[in-house]
Amino acid sequence: MSIEIRHVTKTFGTFTALSDVSLEVKTGELVALLGPSGSGKTTLLRIIAGLEVPDCGTILFHGEDATDRRVQDRRVGFVFQHYALFRHMTVFDNVAFGLRVMPRSMRCSKAEIRARVQRLLSLVQLDWLADRYPSQLSGGQRQRVALARALAVEPRVLLLDEPFGSLDAKVRQELRRWLRRLHQGINVTGVLVTHDQEEALEVADRVIVMNAGRIEQIGTPEEVFHHPATEFVMNFLGHVNVFHGRAEGNKAFFGAFELDYPDAPATGSLAIRGFVRPHDLEVDLQPAETTLVEGLVEHIHAAGPRVKLELLTVLGETIQVEISQERYRALGLTRGRRVYVRPREIRVFSDNPSG
């Protein structure tokens, strides 16, 4: 089932959680709402679920206006950040809850409920824990029970609020992959809220980057990572080095470094900022025509697949560079060594709204 959000605004007192947000989620798609805390992503998720009411704007489920539809009638599955399992019920009763509270006319028989719950528990690989209470489970197990409970009512939409937020790194990785496979298997429309860019990029078909109650960019993981639309997106999706410069006469200048910049004003000059990811910077021992800046090697972090360098530039700024192990060995870098940095790719943003 598709979800459409049109011009939704929500305020809490003087705080604007969402301002004029519109987006569409296609049937069977899994999208991620990605943003820092306070960006409005959870509020948007709760509005889709019906747990919050928007101040204005409409929500459409499958083309039908569902703005005033009650939570109970929306048939959404919601997985809470802190699981929200019923602590006085066993795992089995938790998963069966949604089936048992259905109106009598729609409710299936006890045997059917039992069979369905067993099926769901084996889907999340927890059938052997059916008689346990939530307090007896580990975090990852609780999260899977919460997922099974949400899926029990066969929701048309699955909403996940920071589902892996309180789990440790290894469990997160596994659950993430598992969720990806699960979503492909059951074909439900999914919306995932997260502040973890890696999670969003890995799991989602499309990523919606949010900031301060607004949508910054909507796109596939590749699009938002390689072609960030705004400074915020660039900054939020991984480390980035910022260089200050100016633009004039179709050119952008960062010190002696220059590149073509068609957005520059015909007359006068404009302050601009160049953003380069650490892996898009190359290090040389000799200056070249394309050198952006020179600096001293301040710190070397070589324990990992790639070598991370911290350089102190002549302008007194610290920049981060990531190079391959081979390149690192070829250069024979040591601390205090003077190096010359050139960018492979640089994204330029200006205060000019069109830029």
Partner: protein
Amino acid sequence: MSYNVVPGVDNRHSAIEMSSASVERPPGRSVRPATAEPAPVRWLLIVVAVGFLTLFLFLPLAAVFAQAFQRGLGPYLAALREPDARSAIRLTLLSAGIAVPLNLLFGVAAAWAIAKFEFRGKSVLITLIDLPFAVSPVIAGLIYVILFGRRGWLGPWLDQHNIQIIFAVPGIVLATIFVTCPLVARELIPLMQAQGREEEEAAVVLGARGWQTFFRVTLPNIKWGLLYGVILCNARAMGEFGAVSVVSGHIRGLTNTMTLHVEILYNEYNFVGAFAVASLLTLLAMVTLALKSLVEWKARQGQAAGPVVAEQP
């Protein structure tokens, strides 16, 4: 909550056991946890505590029963079978029987509103709930006299319609409700606040209607706290003296509760009668304490977490 499990107590014990088992003790040096006091200090503290309890709690308690059975079982039972005594017992049961269910409803409603919703005037409501604790019960009684008494604000109107509240059963019930009203709410508010709204939200998203959410999710989560509040409320309702004394008028066989009856008999030097009725109230107190301990124990059982299964998903 007063009956929370103290986390870490068991761990500490096992840690001490482990260390004493695995570490060879050097001869001539006693291993004592840093926070434990030397034996004489511990004994002194225990003696002081037990002595205090004996002097101020167990002795008076024993004295009540000693006085009540002073002349044997016969006069004791006779004092309880006496019509005025029976009427007092009936009235006490009646007022508690009305006040406790009403407070149960009020307490759940107020705690629900305060813990689960944000609204204007919430802090005022919290303060108001505490008012009966802050005010002396005698003042509470006087408030009702001023309101409903013959010369009170509503007195003439009540007189015209032949409704008597003061010096009658309704006044006693009202005064009892007033003094007991914070008990259930006070017990539930911190409990419900700590539990938050997420479980209810989960229930609603799963399709549960309001009453299903309340009976299947909210109530099971608060049941021990609720029962605890009800037990305390009942004890207070039956034992109330001050407020009831002001509005009762002390009409024997009509508006005397058990506590008032005890006072009257005592003032008449009828010690066996006074202490016989008093012994019932004492028994009530002991039953209350026993129930309270049972509920606390049950609540702990309910909260007790089993071993956490460390397993990778």
